[in-house]
């Protein structure tokens, strides 16, 4: 266990470090003047002296390595800077919104995993059958649909035409506080759309892995022992096919994060994705950089967790280590 954690950390720390350098360089190369951004509309009425004052305060004109180390030092101390697009400390913005994004991604991941394991296994069980062909055709079709288009279609049908679900937001217009049923009702469409758009890759992977597993010796032997079909399928074929799947879930997470940015935007959810779009429109380097770094850290942590899950699930790794 400890070895797995150590190995992952040995990768994660340089990755975060390299990402921070890369982003800082991009930010430095940007034609955007942070002082102008900070001042906002006031910049036009502000004197050059005042702007210079802001620049001096921030050390914008210091040499790049100095600026980078100062920024990194602040980051490490938990000071993520000032968001020029939201006029708020970056830490506050993230603290307010990260929860909703994690909720959206977490529920979606749970839905995708359960659904794709079930659908993929059943498709593999009756390879070439009606269900298998249906699932595969649907997967290829959905893979060709941009998630935001899918989201707009879902809004058009289920929110506007049928009126079953709200078209956006997290709470009703008149609601003064967040209540669980209200939020759940608002999350149905975004979660479904994100889950469906992410599902093809997972379903096809499970299907192929289980189909292959079904042809292996240990599954034939399990059938030869007279075990029930369900036991053979889930207890033996899926059980062994699951192992490679676990590690691949981790590598697929960045795509899920990208999808959540788009879904949050379409459904006006108050998460990190939507706010990062606003930050991008406003050239808000501190907020964007912080969101990208935090997301990267979360993805790396999730990779570590899937590794640990793999270690727990595979006795060969657990025992031989």
């Amino acid at each position: 266990m400890i070895r797995v954690v150590r190995r992952r950390l040995a990768v994660a720390v340089p990755v975060l470090f390299a990402t921070s350098i890369g982003m800082f360089l991009l930010g430095a190369a940007s034609p955007i003047d942070p002082a102008m951004q900070y001042a906002g509309a006031a910049a036009f009425s502000m004197s050059e002296e005042n702007l210079q004052q802001i620049r001096d305060n921030w050390g914008v004109d210091d040499p790049l390595p100095v600026q980078y180390l100062r920024w990194l030092g602040n980051l490490v101390q938990g000071d993520l800077g000032w968001s020029t697009s939201r006029h708020q400390a970056v830490t506050e913005v993230i603290a307010d919104r990260a929860g909703w994004t994690l909720l959206l991604i977490g529920i979606t991941l749970a839905v995708v995993l359960t659904g794709s394991l079930l659908a993929g296994t059943l498709a593999a069980h009756r390879r070439g059958g009606l269900f298998d062909r249906g699932v595969r055709a649907a997967a290829y079709a959905v893979e060709s649909m941009p998630v935001f288009w899918l989201a707009l279609g879902a809004i058009a049908v289920f929110a506007l035409a049928l009126g079953w679900f709200p078209a956006g937001g997290l709470t009703g217009v008149r609601a003064t506080s967040t209540s669980f049923p209200d939020v759940a009702h608002h999350l149905v469409l975004p979660v479904t759309v994100l889950a469906i758009s992410q599902a093809p890759w997972f379903v096809l992977f499970v299907r192929d892995a289980v189909a292959e597993s079904l042809r292996e010796d240990h599954v034939l032997a399990a059938r030869a022992r007279g075990l029930a079909g369900r036991t053979v399928l889930f207890g033996h074929a899926l059980r062994t096919a699951l192992l490679p799947f676990l590690t691949l879930v981790g590598t697929h997470l960045p795509e899920l994060v990208g999808g959540s940015v788009l879904v949050e935007t379409v459904f006006s959810l108050p998460g990190l994705g939507a706010v990062s779009v606003q930050a991008a429109l406003g050239g808000d380097f501190p907020l964007l950089a912080a969101i990208t770094l935090v997301t990267t850290a979360v993805v790396l942590t999730a990779n570590l967790l899937t590794d640990l899950a793999y270690t727990a699930a595979d006795p060969r790794v657990r025992i031989d280590g």
Binding site: E216, H218, A224, R239, P315
Partner: protein
């Protein structure tokens, strides 16, 4: 005694992309309770296909014909045809309950992520037996119950073999098929496995031993069926066959034994995708004549069988 299993005219073909594999052709055999029948032949002659065909475990590109009648213990009177009864009957009535299979290469036949005890308990439960019997069944198969706590990858070849045997015995099947149970084991383990199979027969079960190891067959078999290129070429009581083989191929196999002439049969078996017309052994046979262009039939499938005088002592 009435036969437990009667196979007649079993034929198995595999459809490949651009070829047809004639894995088994017109195979007849019977097994009686208490009998140990050894099916012997070089690897790739269709022996394992026979086991999988009887249990309905062949891949989807296989085409099977013929009959394989197995007497039932319960249910409707009369035997059940294994090749026609369908997946449901096979899964619920036959596999593990009426026919137990000790698979070839037990190491890959065990689900690696689950401990022996869980595999055995699960199988006992599937056969409506008390999972607490696991220790007893393991002992019957010669496996130390303590080894049930291990994962399959922690077991030695011999231990995996015994666990696979225990799993096959869990449903107390009256017919046990052992597919190359001695492969990869050293001599003491081979003898142990064979003696275990022999004991099952002596207790009234029937055993179909599929092996390329003639010495193993000689040690325990009551009856021997020699297979060549998907057909049975000689099917006789073991004592007769080992003292006076009638088919030139049988004699060749016997000559290859270390305690006889230790000389392998010259040449190679034919490709199962391109079998010759007539006797498939003709190309390797020193007694070949024009008659061999026609497929021979009978318990000794040869136009020029050896006489007792010609056979090695």
């Amino acid at each position: 005694m009435n036969p437990l299993l009667t196979v007649s005219g079993l034929t198995v073909r595999f459809q490949l992309r651009d070829a047809v594999v004639a894995a088994v052709t017109g195979l007849d055999l019977t097994v009686r309770p208490g009998e140990l029948l050894a099916v012997v032949g070089e690897s790739g002659c269709g022996k394992s296909v026979l086991a999988h065909a009887l249990l309905g475990l062949l891949p989807a590109n296989a085409a099977v014909s013929g009959k394989a009648l197995l007497t039932r213990a319960v249910g409707p009177p009369g035997p059940v045809d294994l090749l026609a009864c369908g997946e449901k009957t096979l899964a619920r009535e036959i596999r593990g309950r009426r026919i137990g299979l000790i698979p070839q290469s037990p190491a890959t036949a065990l689900t690696v992520v689950r401990r022996g005890r869980r595999l055995l308990a699960e199988t006992l439960r599937a056969h409506r037996r008390d999972p607490g019997l696991a220790d007893q069944v393991a002992r019957e198969a010669g496996l130390d119950p303590a080894d049930l706590e291990r994962y399959p990858f922690e077991l030695s070849g011999g231990m995996a073999q015994r666990l696979a045997t225990a799993l096959a015995l869990a449903g107390e099947p009256p017919l046990l098929i052992a597919d190359e149970p001695t492969g990869g084991l050293d001599r003491p383990l081979v003898d142990h496995t064979l003696d275990l199979l022999r004991r099952r027969c002596d207790d009234g079960a029937a055993v179909l031993l599929i092996t390329h190891d003639l010495a193993a067959a000689e040690r325990v078999a009551d009856t021997v069926a020699v297979m060549y290129a998907g057909r049975i070429v000689e099917h006789r009581p073991a004592r007769e066959l080992f003292s006076a083989p009638a088919h030139p191929y049988s004699r060749g196999l016997l000559d290859a034994l270390p305690d006889r002439e230790f000389r392998a049969v010259a040449g190679h078996p034919p490709m199962l995708t391109a079998l010759p017309r007539g006797c498939a052994f003709a190309a390797r046979c020193d007694r070949v004549s024009g008659a061999c262009a026609i497929q021979p039939a009978g318990p000794v499938a040869c136009h020029h069988p050896l006489t007792t005088a010609e056979a090695p002592a």
